[in-house]
C-alpha cells in the first residue's frame, strides 16, 4: 500500500512539474535583449521610470515605438501614481518620473540633492483632453457654459430642461428628465484636473477646492475612466467626465470659453497648453506650466489633463544620460506623439512645445 501511494505521488508530481515546464517557455512577444546587441540605434540598457497611471497607456505606445528604433533598450514604467513616481525619482530609485502635477517647493529642494545644481527638466509631454460626456436621447449637440457644468456636477441643476441649460442651448429640445452626474470613485488625476477647471472657471457656482477625490456626495460613482463611461452609457440622463479618447459613442459637450463653445479635440487641447504661462522662478529647463483654465481665447479647450516627464539635466553616468536623452527625444518627436495618440488617444503636442522640450533634452548631460 505504501509503495503504491508513493509511486502515484511521484507520477502526480512529475505530471505537475512537466505542466509547469511547458508553460515556462517565455512570452512570445518579449524579446531577449542580450541576443541581438549592437544593431540599429546602437544604444542598449534599461531605463526605469515610475509615476502617473494616466500616461501608462501612452507610455506603452512610446516604449513599443521606441523599441522599433532602439531594440536593445528596455523601458520599464511603473504606474505607481504621481506622488509615488515623484517620491521614487527624488529618492534616486528611478531615472525619470511621470507626474500629473509639477513638483512643489519642497520637492524642488529635494531635486537639487538628487540632480545637483543644474536642476531638473519638467516637460508637459502628455496632453489628454477631458470630455464632458452625456447620455441624452434626442440631443445631438450640447453646449455647456462653465457655470452650468459646475451647477450640474454640484447637483444644483437637477433636470435637463433647467433654464441654465436651456440658455446655453436655445435650439435644442431638452426633456424633463433627471440628471445623474457620474464621477470617479477612485482618486485620480482626471478628477483633480476637472475640479481644478471648475474651481478656476466656474467661480461661485463651484464652491469646492480642487482635489483628486471627488468632493460632492450623492452622484453615481464609478471606478476608473471606463467605469464612468459605462455608467454613463447605462444610465439615460447621465453625465460624466472622462478622457475624450474613451468617450466612444457618447455625446460630448462643447464647453463655453469666452463667448463661444469649444469642442474638445486634440488641437484645441494642445492650444490651451501652448497658450499657458510657464511657471516662473524655477529651473531653466523646468517647463511646468500654470494651465489657463479660465482662458477666453478662441479655440482653446480648457479641460485637459497634462502629465509631465520629470528628470535630471545632469545624470551621474553617461549611459543613463544617453538613454534618457534619446528616449525623451523620441517621446516629443512627431512619431512618438503619434504613437501615444494611437495607444492612449492623447493630443499630440504642438511644434512650439516640441521646440521648447527639445531645448531641455539637448541640455541633458552626464556629470
Amino acid at each position: 500500500m505504501k509503495l503504491s501511494t508513493k509511486t502515484r505521488a511521484t507520477t502526480l508530481s512529475v505530471a505537475l512539474a512537466s505542466t509547469l515546464a511547458l508553460t515556462a517557455c517565455g512570452a512570445s512577444n518579449e524579446t531577449d535583449n542580450a541576443s541581438s546587441s549592437g544593431e540599429d540605434g546602437g544604444l542598449s540598457g534599461t531605463l526605469v521610470g515610475a509615476g502617473a497611471s494616466s500616461q501608462q497607456a501612452a507610455m506603452q505606445g512610446w516604449s513599443a515605438g521606441y523599441n522599433s528604433v532602439q531594440p536593445d533598450v528596455t523601458v520599464n514604467y511603473d504606474p505607481v501614481g504621481s506622488g509615488g513616481g515623484r517620491e521614487q525619482f527624488l529618492a534616486g530609485g528611478t531615472d525619470f518620473a511621470g507626474s500629473d502635477a509639477a513638483l512643489d517647493e519642497e520637492e524642488l529642494a529635494e531635486a537639487e540633492e538628487r540632480c545637483g545644481a543644474s536642476g531638473i527638466f519638467e516637460l508637459p509631454n502628455y496632453i489628454a483632453p477631458i470630455a464632458v460626456v452625456y447620455n441624452l436621447e434626442g440631443v445631438e449637440d450640447l453646449n455647456l457654459s462653465p457655470e452650468t457644468v459646475a451647477g450640474i456636477f454640484n447637483q444644483q441643476i437637477t433636470t435637463w430642461n433647467d433654464p441654465a441649460i436651456a440658455a446655453d442651448n436655445p435650439d435644442a429640445t431638452l426633456p424633463d428628465q433627471a440628471i445623474t452626474p457620474v464621477n470617479r470613485s477612485d482618486e485620480s488625476g482626471t478628477t483633480e484636473n476637472f475640479t481644478e477647471y471648475l474651481a478656476a472657471a466656474a467661480g461661485e457656482a463651484w464652491p469646492h477646492e480642487p482635489s483628486g477625490d471627488w468632493p460632492v456626495s450623492g452622484g453615481e460613482a464609478a471606478q476608473g475612466t471606463s467605469g464612468v463611461v459605462s455608467a454613463v452609457e447605462a444610465g439615460a440622463g447621465s453625465i460624466g467626465y472622462a478622457d475624450l479618447s474613451q468617450a466612444g459613442d457618447l455625446g460630448v459637450a462643447n464647453i463655453g470659453v469666452g463667448e463661444e463653445f469649444v469642442e474638445p479635440t486634440a488641437e484645441s487641447a494642445a492650444a490651451v497648453v501652448e497658450n499657458s504661462e510657464t511657471l516662473e522662478g524655477r529651473g531653466e529647463y523646468d517647463f511646468a506650466i500654470e494651465l489657463a483654465r479660465d482662458t477666453t481665447e478662441s479655440g482653446n479647450y480648457p479641460i485637459v489633463l497634462i502629465s509631465y516627464h520629470v528628470g535630471c539635466i545632469e545624470y551621474e553616468d553617461q549611459e543613463t544620460a544617453d538613454l534618457v536623452k534619446d528616449f525623451m527625444t523620441y517621446v516629443v518627436s512627431e512619431d512618438g506623439q503619434q504613437a501615444a495618440a494611437e495607444a492612449a488617444g492623447s493630443a499630440p503636442i504642438s511644434d512650439a512645445l516640441r521646440e521648447q522640450a527639445q531645448s531641455a533634452i539637448d541640455a541633458i548631460t552626464a556629470a
Binding site: 500500500m1 505504501k2 501511494t5 502515484r8 505521488a9 509547469l20 508553460t23 515556462a24 517565455g26 512570452a27 512570445s28 512577444n29 518579449e30 497611471s53 501608462q56 497607456a57 506603452q60 505606445g61 516604449s63 513599443a64 523599441n67 520599464n76 511603473d78 504606474p79 505607481v80 509615488g84 517620491e87 521614487q88 529618492a91 471606478q223 476608473g224 475612466t225 471606463s226 467605469g227 463611461v229 479618447s245 474613451q246 466612444g248 494611437e342 495607444a343 492612449a344 488617444g345
Partner: protein
C-alpha cells in the same frame, strides 16, 4: 385545482380541534399545482410584459399559494403549513442556484472569446489594442502560489502535529482559538500586514512578489492547520501505540506512521487551501502590484498575477476598451478553471490516495 373530498365530515379520531384529517392531497398534487401556476403565470405574463425571471417568480409564488390553499381546505392547517415550508425550503435552494448558474454562464460566454493560444503565450509588453495575453500573469500567479505553499505547508503541518501529538494545556487552547480567529482575517488586512512588514525594511512604496506570498500565507496557514488537524485526529491510536511498542521514537512514529497514513487527507487539505488563496486579489493588489512584462523573480520588482491582471484589465482598459475587457473575462475564466480544477484534484487525491482499509 385538485380532486377533493373537501368538507368531509370529521372522523372520530381527530386529535386536535383545528385539524381536518378527512382528506389527503394525492401525490401528484404539488406538481399539478405548479403546472397550473405556470399556466396562470404565463397568461399574466402575456397580459403584462413577459420576462423569464418574472415568469418563474410568478409560477413559484402562485404555485406555493395554490398548494397552501388547497392543502388547507383538504388537509387542514397543520399539513398546509408543512407543505408551505417544503415549498419555501426548496425555493431557497433554487434561489442559491441562480447566481451559480448565471455566473458560470456569463464567465464562460465572455471568457471564451480570448481563450486562445496567444492568451497563454504572450504578455502585454508592446501590446496596444488587440491581442496580447496573460502569460506573465499566469506565471506570476503560479510562482506566488508556489511560494505561499512552501511557506504555509511546513508551518501549518507542524502546528497541526503540535496540536494533535504534543500540545496540551493553555498553549494548545490558545493556538486552536487563534487559528480559528485567523481564518477570519479579511484578505485585504493580510495584504496591509505584508506591506507594513516590508515597508519597515525596504521603505515606502515597495512592491515584491514575495510580499504577496507572505500575505497569502497569513490566509493559507490557518486553513492548512485546520484541515491537517482534522485528518491527523482520524489516524487510529492503535497505529501509534504499535509503533511505540516496537521502541520507535515518537518523532519517527509521526514521520513514518502517522503522516503516511494521513497522506491522502493532508493532500486534499493542502490542495483545497491552495484553491482558497489562488484567487485572492486584494492582498496582491496592495503588495505585488501589476506590470506588463514577465517578471519571474519574486524578490525584485512588481509581478503580474492573474486576479490583479483581471481587475486592471476590466477597470483600466485603455483605448478601445473592448480588447482589454475581453482579456479580463478570459482571465476570470482561467481563475475559475484553476480553482475548480484544484477542487477536482483534491477529490481525486482523497479517492486514490486513501489508505485501503481492509476492514
Amino acid at each position: 385545482m385538485s380532486t377533493s373530498t373537501a368538507q368531509g365530515p370529521a372522523t372520530d379520531v381527530a386529535p386536535a380541534p383545528e385539524q381536518r384529517p378527512g382528506g389527503r392531497l394525492p401525490r401528484w398534487a404539488p406538481w399539478a399545482a405548479f403546472v397550473a401556476a405556470l399556466a396562470v403565470a404565463y397568461l399574466v405574463g402575456l397580459a403584462t410584459s413577459t420576462n423569464v425571471v418574472l415568469l418563474v417568480i410568478y409560477t413559484v409564488v402562485i404555485g406555493t399559494a395554490g398548494l397552501y390553499v388547497a392543502s388547507r381546505i383538504v388537509e387542514g392547517p397543520r399539513r398546509a403549513v408543512d407543505r408551505l415550508v417544503t415549498c419555501l425550503v426548496s425555493s431557497a435552494f433554487g434561489i442559491a442556484m441562480v447566481p451559480l448558474v448565471s455566473l458560470a454562464y456569463e464567465v464562460i460566454r465572455r471568457g471564451v472569446l480570448r481563450f486562445d493560444g496567444e492568451f497563454f503565450g504572450a504578455s502585454l509588453v508592446g501590446v496596444i489594442g488587440e491581442g496580447g495575453g496573460a502569460y506573465h500573469a499566469i506565471m506570476g500567479t503560479l510562482i506566488i502560489t508556489l511560494l505561499t505553499t512552501l511557506i504555509s505547508v511546513p508551518i501549518g503541518l507542524l502546528t497541526a502535529i503540535y496540536l494533535v501529538e504534543y500540545g496540551s494545556g493553555r498553549l494548545k487552547r490558545a493556538i486552536t482559538f487563534f487559528v480559528d480567529v485567523m481564518t477570519g482575517i479579511p484578505s485585504i488586512v493580510a495584504g496591509l500586514f505584508a506591506y507594513a512588514l516590508f515597508v519597515i525594511f525596504f521603505g515606502a512604496g515597495i512592491r515584491l512578489g514575495i510580499m504577496g506570498a507572505v500575505a497569502l500565507s497569513v490566509l493559507m496557514i490557518p486553513v492548512v492547520v485546520r484541515s491537517a488537524e482534522e485528518v491527523l485526529k482520524l489516524v487510529p491510536n492503535e497505529l501509534r501505540e504499535a509503533a511505540y511498542a516496537l521502541g520507535v521514537p515518537k518523532w519517527r512514529t509521526i514521520v513514518k506512521v502517522v503522516l503516511p497514513t494521513a497522506i491522502a487527507g493532508l493532500g486534499t487539505g493542502v490542495t483545497l487551501a491552495i484553491a482558497r488563496v489562488i484567487g485572492e486579489t486584494a492582498p496582491l493588489l496592495v503588495t505585488v502590484g501589476i506590470t506588463n512584462g514577465t517578471n519571474l523573480n519574486p524578490f525584485e520588482g512588481r509581478m503580474a498575477t492573474l486576479p490583479v491582471y483581471a481587475f486592471y484589465q476590466l477597470t483600466q482598459p485603455g483605448v478601445p476598451p473592448e480588447n482589454a475587457i475581453d482579456r479580463a473575462w478570459t482571465a476570470a475564466l482561467i481563475l475559475i478553471m484553476l480553482v475548480m480544477g484544484l477542487n477536482v484534484v483534491a477529490r481525486l487525491i482523497s479517492r486514490f490516495f486513501a489508505p485501503k482499509t481492509s476492514r
